[in-house]
Symmetry: C2
Subunit: 793 residues, 2 copies
């Protein structure tokens, strides 16, 4: 179980700690304490190996498809963290001997992982161990590792095998050819890996500096085995002797942005990276770490500038945890790359990008670091090629985005087969890649949100309009005319609730398709007015002839399910409300995911009123940010009715569910419930269930922590194109301070239960609405509101 | 450390036991206690996993080349032995808690592996465990596994994950595509793997039967993950409750001999194998095991019929160990397959066949089971295609056998790169595949020995002559004329002593090439006389026009190094005797292999009078079996001189070395030394060094145990085409009884220090020489000889 209260003074709410080592729950710390810098990410497996460990190092964008019947994925690179330590000839392991004063700690502020303890070997020798590790935010290619071993009572023989081990795989799937290995000058180890299909070279270099009582001792034996190269260091430590080891590693790939498209030369990459390693190693761990720490301070903590006073300290820590991982997971350096659903912290979802990005993560960057938000949308822009191919292959027009996206040009990469079907004993067919289609409008929504919050017209001209027009073109071709009902429908889809396959007129899908086309029309109108030549060129490029009238015609007749008269519930799809109901208690109380699949197979679940995750609910929250905000079908009363209908039927069997319910609960005035859902959502990764993060952290849920705090409790939201700030803080929260970016200007906000101060950092005018009143400010303004107002809003 | 004295009564000298579990030396038991039946072989990794385990399952002949820069090898199949057992939710492991009465035991007689112990969990619960395992010799596709868990004191929750796990690799190299997985009726698990390049399907089926106190309880949860399918069984055991699990597995491949060449159908193989599994499982472990045990008794122990009375019990056990592994390693069922240098007990040498087969293993089968010997030679016959290709590619004629051979038609498969070069830090280049050429004459020698001992003319007509003619043709093209010295030479080779690369006129190579050509001439002469039409057809097929006169001319002028005048030492090669000498003590006393490479790189070792393994020495032992026996250059005096020169310079850095030195030592009357070398050679796998077998057992050394006993101590040998029996038993040995096959007839021999009885089982006449006298017998004969005679012989 993790501990969050060890940080004192300056470190308060900055430390995630493990104070009892358990080899039964390794995944928890490996994932939640994973390190990275967007370029690469590493699970925090311990230096010494354990049976159930998962040791992963991923470099973003290095996708490889191992075979025809496999799916492209981020390959697990060679490992540099494992140390085979022997004390008096016996394997060092915390499962053996006795351990005292154990602490493993991720410092969110410095992004350093440390581990320390005293250990008594099975033979009774006492030693003190300290491990430190970071992945540099200063130089994205650098990994630093440090170890200290002190013999406390006896003289001991210490031996360490350390090097580069490419005998790694993704759960048995090997993505690399055996590459060259070499040790230069008995000191600098180099190993090359090349992916089997995408032909990406990975160059790893590592080197060690060993000191005993401060004196360098670098004698070692050199070894090579298959896919492995290492050195063995041996020391005899007398009582109180201290061994220090520094291991500095660099990782480069031929896919790196700085590699020239033409004239790439592996030998040059090898030489240059080796030279870089030598220079890093000369600086040493402490100096490299200082630069890394400074980078975190400057680029992250100063920029995101976040403080929360809650009588539950965990909340501030959870928000920092969110900011930490949002930084670590995001390839801010390279617009050709997206964010994986498990970030870079595990093999789960293979590094693929889902709607999680646009709906759960992108908002943070739009409001906090628009440059990065732009990079993430450019990733989708580059993905148009694959989206167009997917549309064509499915008999549609325009851009039909892949449900799962890897390298931008790859197109659809969703696997076709999943977990076991308990009825047939076969693998279940995965339909999402074929029929979960709302991703296309989710991306259009991302563009809309980005445009409205940042005001980045250049982006729209260069990329944004094209995405919106081509996705709207897809929807126009996708709609099906129902002659009997005289309306357009969208049949045979999966909505956000993936328990329901092959359903018709999923409300979320239909409304969002409607939004997507309406948005295109809006932009079309605007461009016609403001930039007709751009419009013309886009019309030519995208073959939009007659498209506007098509959009007009089709949006008018598109079936948008109305709330039922009797209870204002919007039917999730054509049949949901008629399905049988079962007692869901057992699954609502699940301590892991997918428990319902132990009793029912997908066909059976399809026939029950049970929902995996927020589906109709998420619609409200999205649409009110748009020009459709005034649609009475998404009024607060309808919201409330649907919340109370769907929540009891929702298993929250996806980490995307709770945050949406938390926000909507807050919106409808269920503050206590909202706070409870927020806490539960933070616990997706940080909670007491020790196996929830085994496959990796939950990127969307982590984005959702920030979303719930800012969009939910702090009430900062884009509503119909305008900034609104209508806080409704949980009882526990006394004050929250943070910065958002609005129309290019940083805005410092400070919110208490009854007040709001807004500071326009650049002294440029900002308008916002709060509880029905409009405010303007080009400097600093304080708004005070009564609890009455909040309650009645 | 292994124990050999636990077998009492009927089991005396049949049990190899481990009585203290050590996770620091897992490889020892995994390899020495490995199971198999020639069709497949499995390392005996424990059911519960350990960090340094190596879990291997190989099916002979299923070679796959993973990538262009890799070498074809036997791929490590999916595992069915690992059980993830949790006791009260905690991982069961002998590294944790306390273990009492631990015994792991391989019964050589029944080829069953058992393991039993009492274990107290970290929480203090006491349980008794029993594991059993066999790989059937009755049905080559069947693996049986049984487990018992008894709770001794408390009520405990036991959970077991068991199934088929294809997340395996050869040290990180994955040879299989992800295949289909399925569980039929929540009971029968099937997993398919297909090799990536050779396109071989492997179909594994497994099923479990669970009983608590004798009552079947088969409830389980079904799971699938990548390359993995398994069931989780959970039980609550009350004190004294006994859980029994039987797991029966079948392994089939599309390369199996019984699979039709045309019209192979994976679905049929799946269906048939699944049906077979069901029928095996119905029989149950005990019944399957009984058939397996009977097969061992009938096919092996009755047939090989071996007894040794030694005052050192270990000797008999070592000989049985040898017979056990010679059975387990040999694909007696399929002539398209050979014997790997590490048998099927590890990844070492990749399942490739070396000269180890013909010189160290084949003799056992020639004298004990000629049918199998024939199968092994047919493997080489099928290899002619690759051997001819290799000759052509190297600019020679005839058949140049690959130094390492895998699938017969693959040709040369020796890897090109090896271990680290301590000077450059790069991988060392492996030259053996290019220039270790004596393998070609070694195979011709195998044919010669087979023909002389078995008298199998049909084999010679169909296959044997062709091999000998085509290999002799190779040598004729290979010789180089030295104009200055007016002689043919063989330059730039590696002899058996692989420390010496690119040397000229390696004595062993030159003499054996000479033998090979002389043998061809002999057969040519014979055929001309006895079967001219066969000769004609072979002449046509092999294009032997003028070849005879070429052989005649070249053998006459081939340089065969003479013993030096001053000390009768035959120079190992042109330069060896002039190289510098260093103190080798450190390396002679090595407790592992290749220690000299820690101080010197290959170039440096090339310049030192140091020999890896018997080189010139093995020549004597081979040539005296041939028609060259009378050559005075290989007289006993020369033998003795060379023994005393080369032994001190030999590091025995190959398991092929000691047995040869032991035999030669015995020949020259150094009985005590011979016995010591024999014991040391048995210790290659069975000795106290716990890591010598990590990569697998030493197939040649294991053949050598039998060779030393029979050819060495018992003095049974082919000499110049005749059977000679000149025993010279070690002091420790009182009596040895065994059966050899001579000219198609089994001959029972019983030897004491001063007598020999010979029984012609089929009552056909057998002639043999013993200490200078010829004997004839068609029933039974006893020969008594004085110690005087032995001493002076």
């Amino acid at each position: 179980m993790l501990n969050y209260s060890r940080g004192k003074g300056d470190l308060k709410n900055w430390l995630i700690s493990e104070i009892d080592f358990s080899s039964n729950a390794l995944g928890k710390c490996e994932a939640t304490m994973s390190l990275g810098n967007g370029y690469m990410g590493m699970r925090s497996a311990t230096e010494e190996p354990y049976i159930h460990e998962t040791r992963n190092l991923f470099v973003n964008g290095t996708f490889n498809k191992a075979a025809e019947n496999e799916v492209t994925e981020l390959p697990n690179l060679a490992d540099v963290t494992r140390l085979d330590i022997r004390i008096d000839g016996e394997r060092f392991s915390l499962e053996l001997g006795k351990t005292k004063n154990y602490i493993r700690q991720l410092n969110l502020k410095t992004a350093e992982l440390t581990r320390s303890f005293e250990w008594t070997s099975p033979k009774g020798k006492e030693l003190r161990f300290l491990f430190k590790r970071f992945i540099s935010l200063d130089n994205l290619h650098v990994i630093g590792l440090k170890m200290e071993i002190e013999s406390l009572t006896d003289s001991v023989d210490v031996s360490i095998d350390t090097g580069i081990n490419a005998q790694m795989s993704n759960s048995g799937c090997q993505h690399f050819l055996e590459g060259e290995r070499r040790i230069y000058n008995n000191q600098f180890i180099q190993l090359i890996q090349t992916t089997t299909e995408s032909n990406i070279d990975v160059v790893l270099n590592t080197t060690h500096k060993m000191k005993v009582n401060g004196k360098e001792v670098n004698d070692s034996e050199m070894h090579m085995a298959r896919r492995k190269v290492w050195q063995t260091y041996q020391f005899k430590l007398l009582p109180n002797d201290k061994l220090e080891m520094e291991k500095v590693t660099t990782v480069h790939t031929s896919r790196d942005k700085e590699i020239p498209q033409e004239g790439y030369d592996l030998q040059k990459l090898r030489d240059d990276s080796l030279q870089a390693l030598q220079s890093h190693a000369d600086k040493g761990y402490d100096s490299l770490f200082q630069r890394h720490k400074d980078a975190w301070q400057q680029k992250i903590w100063n920029k995101y500038n976040f403080e929360l006073a809650s009588d539950n300290d965990f909340d501030e820590l959870a928000l920092r945890f969110s900011l930490y991982h949002l930084t670590v997971m995001t390839p801010a350096h390279d617009e050709r790359m997206g964010i994986g659903a498990k970030a870079l912290s595990g093999e789960g979802y293979k590094g693929h990008s889902f709607w999680d990005t646009e709906i759960f993560i992108l908002p943070f960057f739009i409001y906090s670091n628009p440059e990065v938000a732009k990079s993430l949308l450019l990733y989708r822009y580059h993905g148009l090629e694959g989206a167009r191919r997917k549309a064509l292959e499915n008999g549609y027009e325009g851009a039909m985005y892949p449900w799962e996206m890897a390298w931008p040009t790859d197109g659809e990469v969703t696997p076709e087969w999943g977990d076991i079907d308990i009825v047939t004993g076969e693998q279940t067919k995965i339909w999402t890649g074929f029929i979960e289609q709302h991703i296309t409008s989710d991306i259009a929504f991302g563009v809309y949100q980005y445009e409205n919050v940042t005001g980045d017209k250049q982006f729209m001209d260069d990329y944004g309009y094209e995405i919106v027009f081509d996705t709207a073109k897809f929807w126009a071709s996708r709609l099906e005319w129902n002659d009997e009902k005289h309306r357009y429908e969208i049949n045979n889809v999966i909505g956000p609730d993936e328990y329901k396959e092959h359903i018709h007129n999923n409300a979320f899908t239909n409304y969002m398709a409607y939004f997507n086309m309406k948005l295109a029309m809006r932009y079309y109108d605007q461009l016609k007015e403001e930039n007709p030549s751009l419009l013309q060129s886009l019309e030519r490029k995208l073959d939009l002839d007659e498209m506007y009238s098509l959009w007009e015609k089709k949006t008018k007749r598109l079936y948008l399910p109305n709330p039922r008269e009797e209870d204002s519930v919007i039917p999730q799809d054509d049949t949901y409300l008629q399905l049988k109901e079962i007692d869901l208690t057992k699954y609502k109380e699940q301590d892991t995911v997918r428990t319902i699949y132990r009793d029912y197979n997908p066909e059976q679940i399809n026939e029950i009123q049970v929902t995996k995750q927020a589906d109709t609910l998420i619609l409200f929250y999205l649409l009110e940010q748009t020009f459709l905000a005034e649609d009475e079908r998404i009024s607060k009363a309808v919201k409330r009715a649907n919340f109370h209908y769907y929540e009891p039927r929702t298993l929250h069997d996806s980490s995307l569910s709770l945050v949406t319910y938390a926000i909507v609960a807050n919106d409808i005035g269920e503050e206590a419930l909202a706070y409870r859902l927020f806490e539960k959502s933070c616990e997706t990764d940080l909670g007491p269930m020790m196996h929830t993060s085994d496959e990796g952290i939950h990127a969307a849920s982590i984005g959702g922590i920030w979303k719930t705090a800012i969009f939910g409790f702090a009430g900062v939201r884009l509503v119909n194109g305008k900034l609104t700030i209508q806080p409704r803080l949980p009882n526990h929260w006394k004050e929250i301070k943070f910065t958002i970016h609005w129309q290019g200007q940083p805005i410092n906000l400070c919110i208490t239960p009854t007040s709001l101060t807004v500071e326009a950092v650049n002294k440029e005018k900002v308008e916002f609405e709060s509880y029905g009143k409009m405010y303007e400010c080009d400097d600093f303004i304080e708004v005070v509101f009564s609890e009455e107002v909040i309650k009645n809003s």
